[in-house]
């Protein structure tokens, strides 16, 4: 041994030579290999099928196993293990369900998709979710047309599609074909503490003038009137700006944006919405929120240091552990922006979310779809809402349930909106680059001076760049 240590090949020289030939890994690059599996289509997997019948509309093989993967996040996994799987097995006792849960969806699923060995049903969610547009483009998601046309499991006389809230199928539709079940139903609005507002005699505003007058009062009371987390939740703010733009100029404004129509972002409605919100940013935001994460800002709201927080109806459940008894979540629709708004102030943006899909190249895609049909039954939907305090896309499934105050308030806002419930936009899932750009632009608008023209121009340029990039798959909606 001593011969080695005393030789010219001592430790330092070895290290140095190693570095010189690049043996010390070039940073950041090696993790690319993590996703570079077999690039083939793996299309020769033998897929299980059975005979179609009235009782078996999707034609599954009753004895073939079904593998499902659930994201273990804010919704938990109990609804899958304790509700959906037993329900599935009640009808198909011989089909063995292989269940697993993960927080790393892309990390665990992506290599399997590329290897042609996908699970049959996948819940694509969380921070490590896969770009679903790219999955569709790569032919990895099964066409769900037959699922939506199949009769509902327990709502007689209706197809699965007919049991869902309007827009639910559309939300998972790519170029005219449905590929995803967006299972949970989220209502977006401004969240506040009902008890704090009652104590101070503050009333819910419907016009922008009332809104800013209330923000002034709140400010005078020593509370930050409005805020959101700039560090990781600027898309909450994007949602607010887009909702206001839709109120000014109808949902068509958002459709144009999704379709990358030239001038969609410099549209007058977008400009006016950005202008109104930019002013809120200049006058009523705490600048330090730019550096905070969503849980930190949400905690400040729970401590009554912040009055209004723009968010979706998952907020109440997410904060359940941090909400003191003096705090009761309530939600209001975004106020109307101008006197000539084309949608009423009660209009609400509500959207299906949380993607579940059947893999096209798994062993038993039909089994995966049958599992989805089980999830979309009324019985499963009711239990899901009870367990997760979230609404589902199964229409009316929550009716008659005793639900939490925040969700009740969201439900009320929905019924007040009537027919003026709109799905919103899809550019954030279709074009991740545009999504990133919108987050940064919203932060700039709200924290750096409220320049609405800059917001519009930046986003228009980003949209142009996506439109002319041939490597990005384009989608259309109407």
């Amino acid at each position: 041994m001593s011969e080695i240590t005393t030789s010219e090949l001592d430790r330092r020289t070895l290290l140095r030579r190693a570095a010189a030939v690049g043996l010390v890994a070039t940073p950041g690059v090696s993790f690319l290999s993590a996703c570079a599996g077999s690039s083939g289509d793996g299309g020769d997997t033998k897929q299980a099928t059975g005979t179609k019948s009235a009782d078996n509309p999707l034609g599954i093989d009753p004895k073939a196993g079904v593998e499902i993967v659930i994201f273990d996040g804010g919704l938990g996994t109990k609804y899958a293990t304790d509700v959906d799987t037993p329900l599935f097995n009640r009808k198909w006792p011989d089909a063995k369900i292989t269940y697993s849960a993960t927080q790393q969806v892309a990390t665990t699923i992506k290599p399997r998709l590329n290897a042609g060995n996908a699970p049959d049903m996948i819940n694509n969610s969380g921070t490590d979710l896969m770009d679903f547009g790219a999955i569709v483009k790569a032919g990895q998601a099964a066409d769900l047309s037959d699922l939506f046309a199949a009769p509902s499991l327990d709502i007689p006389g209706k197809t699965v599609a007919e049991t869902l809230v309007p827009g639910a199928v559309q939300q998972g539709t790519y170029d005219g074909k449905p590929y995803a079940v967006n299972y949970s139903f989220t209502v977006f609005g401004l969240w506040y503490n009902r008890k704090l507002f009652e104590k101070n005699g503050w009333t819910v505003p419907t016009t922008w003038a009332d809104f800013t007058a209330l923000l002034d009062k709140i400010k005078a009371a020593g509370i930050t009137p409005f805020g959101y987390a700039g560090a990781n939740a600027p898309y909450y703010m994007v949602r607010a700006i887009m909702t206001s733009a839709a109120k000014i100029g109808t949902e068509q404004v958002l459709k144009d944006i999704d379709n990358l129509k030239p001038g969609a972002w410099t549209n007058d409605a977008v400009f006016k919405a950005a202008q109104a919100w930019g002013e809120i940013g200049t006058k009523y935001i705490d600048k330090s929120y730019l550096g905070l994460k969503h849980t930190e800002v949400q905690l400040q709201q729970n401590q009554d240091k912040l009055a209004f927080y723009p968010c979706g109806s998952w907020l109440e459940n997410e904060q359940a552990a941090s909400t003191p008894p003096t705090f009761e979540y309530a939600m209001m629709a975004y106020p109307g922006v101008t006197a000539s708004d084309q949608l009423p102030a009660t209009a609400i943006n509500a959207a299906a979310g949380e993607i579940y899909f059947a893999a096209a190249k798994s062993k038993n895609p039909q089994g995966g779809k049958e599992y989805l049909r089980t999830m979309l039954s009324k019985e499963a939907a009711v239990e899901f809402t009870k367990l997760t305090k979230s609404l589902t896309v199964v229409a009316g499934a929550a009716d008659g349930l005793t639900i939490s105050p925040g969700l009740t308030s969201a439900n009320e806002a929905l019924s007040k909106a009537g027919k003026d419930v709109f799905m919103g936009y899809l550019f954030d899932t279709w074009y991740k680059k545009l999504d990133d750009a919108s987050r940064e632009a919203a932060n700039q608008l709200m924290f750096k001076g409220g320049d609405a023209k800059k917001f519009c121009d930046t986003m228009e340029a980003a949209s142009r760049a996506v439109a002319k990039d041939s490597s990005i798959t384009k989608f259309d909606r109407s």
């Binding site: 011969e3 080695i4 030789s7 090949l9 330092r12 020289t13 290290l15 140095r16 570095a19 010189a20 690049g22 043996l23 010390v24 890994a25 070039t26 940073p27 950041g28 690059v29 090696s30 993790f31 690319l32 290999s33 996703c35 570079a36 690039s39 083939g40 289509d41 892309a106 992506k110 998709l113 590329n114 770009d131 790219a134 999955i135 483009k137 790569a138 032919g139 990895q140 700039g230 560090a231 990781n232 600027p234 705490d286 600048k287 330090s288 929120y289 730019l290 550096g291 905070l292 930190e296 680059k433 990133d436 987050r439 940064e440 932060n443 700039q444 924290f447 990039d469 490597s471 798959t473």
Partner: protein, 301 residues
């Protein structure tokens, strides 16, 4: 002479080298291949020649990221090495010289261990801790210590300072390792050299520049290459503590994070591979240049 040395070494290296070839070199080769494709990360791809590189040329964010990597490459090693050298010198030679040659300052053994602590923490943990230290409201440690009359500093949320904050974290984590590395180097410098110099009336500063630094040159070179490679990385820090994905306004964007965003968020694995290829050559060029520029006749101890 030294018969049988190489078979002995090779015997030890075969297995690691095989693993290395498969999982590192293999992955690199695949990256070179993928950089010529339009692979999204899912399913099939087609070859598009050098399109990805042409796109890089026009990508303003790529240039911003590259610039940031170069800032860190220039600034961070200088500060880290300077600071580590200073501390190591104090620990080894900086104390009062008694009869038995040079020695470290009082308690140097304890310091040596304490300085090494940050190195024991995984980088993501360090990042999470410093995310709290640099918190932009009063709950952030530094802002919590500021007088109430000051408005909270934004640190990571301030475009001018965000990258500096990240560099500070990296330096904090690295210094301990280099203190130990340089200490080991200084330990191998013969005591009699210092004694002789001290007898001739050399000051501490003279000792440092005339004896320590020249005899430590090899170690410094290694340190420089290592720190340079670390300067090209920064992924974990940026991913965990930067505001809004390398923000605000791309102020903390770096190449490794661009690779991550493009490969895993934007589904442009081919494009991300092209950035990877650029990064590979940058790092290689840097290592080669450093070794060439700093080459000098080894001072024999």
């Amino acid at each position: 002479m030294r018969h049988g040395k190489y078979p002995f070494i090779i015997g030890f290296l075969v297995v690691p080298l095989a693993l290395y070839l498969t999982f590192v070199v293999g992955a690199y080769l695949q990256m070179f291949q993928l950089s010529l494709t339009d692979w999204s990360g899912y399913g099939a791809f087609r070859y598009v020649g050098l399109d990805n590189f042409a796109k890089l040329w026009d990508d303003s964010v790529f240039w911003i990221a590259l610039r940031h990597n170069l800032y860190i490459l220039i600034g961070m090693p200088i500060v880290t090495i300077g600071f580590s050298l200073f501390l190591a010198f104090l620990l080894n030679v900086g104390g009062r010289s008694g009869g038995g040659g040079p020695r470290g300052v009082r308690g140097s053994k304890v310091y040596r261990i304490v300085y090494f602590f940050p190195q024991l923490l995984a980088l993501p943990i360090v990042a999470v801790i410093f995310g709290r230290v640099f918190g932009s409201d009063r709950s952030g440690m530094i802002n919590g210590l500021l007088p109430d009359s000051w408005s909270p500093r934004l640190f990571l949320a301030d475009e001018r300072w965000a990258l500096v904050c990240i560099a500070v974290v990296l330096i904090w984590q690295q210094v301990g390792f280099y203190v130990v590395l340089f200490s080991a180097g200084m330990g191998s410098i013969g005591q009699e050299i210092y004694e002789a110099a001290a007898l001739d009336g050399a000051t501490k500063i003279t000792l440092f520049f005339r004896i320590t630094l020249p005899l430590l040159w090899d170690t410094l070179q290694v340190a420089w290459v290592y720190l340079g490679i670390a300067a090209f990385d920064l992924f974990a820090l940026v991913n965990i503590i930067s505001v809004n994905k390398g923000g605000p306004n791309n102020a903390t964007q770096v190449l490794s994070y661009q690779i991550f965003l493009n490969a895993f968020q934007n589904s442009q694995a081919g494009y991300a591979s092209a950035i990877g290829v650029v990064l590979f050559f940058l790092t290689l060029t840097f290592a080669a240049l450093t070794l060439r520029v700093t080459r000098r006749d080894a001072a024999q101890a």
